[in-house]
Assembly symmetry: none
Homo-oligomer: 145 residues x 2
DNA sequence: ATAGCTGCAAAACCTTTGCAATCAA
DNA sequence: TTGATTGCAAAGGTTTTGCAGCTAT
């Protein structure tokens, strides 16, 4: 039950919070903006204010339930915090996205951070390349390094 | 002469554009927001509108002269486009951004891509952590890994 | 001369906040 | 009951845009 997840985070199990959690779980492969969550809730006839969504997402972030990302766009995207692989490789030819994880690599990143005088909390890594699928159109835009 | 850089990009060599280029070059180790550029220009008694700065930075971006980045904060940061890849580390406490590069790491990324069946062309990597500056407010939201 | 550029002010966005009403425990 | 939570509306901060005047070529 999600109720206990919320309790564990020190949050009362209110309807808006449960609904927002549901939306995130139902879309766990996507990155949702606050607006996205708002729209998805409206589609289910759940009437939750946008301000509440921002507040709840911030609380979830503090509780470690979700991660807030800033990509190229001018707004934040949220996704459920996951255990497990969370780096991405994107094919410049066919656009497919795969996930991977490499513990050694992550350890190395932590070392690099330490050398720079930081305690690493997190990272984002995306590799861009050309896959070797036979049916990949190979429209890669940049040259290999 | 910077004038020719601008001409090559199809932009008239106006005073605001030259001044903005100068500011970027004089601060090439930093990541500047539009406000930062605005403030730095005011300090030199150069009266350039903020709207112009946004417009010029967007034009520079289109021309490939600068790169726009979105880190944790709610605004964009700009830097001169550089030769060669470089990665970033962001302090979750005070928001400062530093650059680093590690050739071994990049080689390792290439290997990982190859293992996954890709030929790597490019990558983006951002480490998030807590710096050890005495005056860092340490508002980091997530836990160390 | 003229197409392009600038500054200003207003608008458009995304996000946060104050407050009175409501709700979970 | 009581402190936490919500919705609304208003405010905050960043970025874009319309337009009249100015500038580089």
């Amino acid at each position: 039950m999600e109720t206990s997840e919320l309790r564990k985070a020190g949050l009362k199990a209110t309807l808006p919070r449960l609904k927002i959690l549901e939306i995130l779980q139902a879309n766990k492969d996507d990155h949702l903006s606050a607006e996205d969550v708002y729209r998805l809730l409206l589609e289910e006839d759940e009437d939750v204010g946008l301000a509440t969504i921002y507040r709840v997402l911030a609380q979830f972030e503090d509780a470690g339930l979700v991660v807030r990302r800033h990509f190229e766009e001018g707004h934040a995207l949220f996704e459920l915090a996951e255990i497990g692989p969370h780096d991405h490789i994107v094919c410049l030819g066919c656009g497919k996205v795969e996930e991977f994880s490499d513990e050694n690599l992550v350890n190395r990143l932590g070392e690099i951070a330490k050398e720079l005088g930081y305690e690493m909390h997190n990272h984002t890594l995306v590799l861009y390349g050309q896959c070797s699928d036979d049916n990949c159109p190979r429209r890669a835009k940049s040259r290999p390094v």
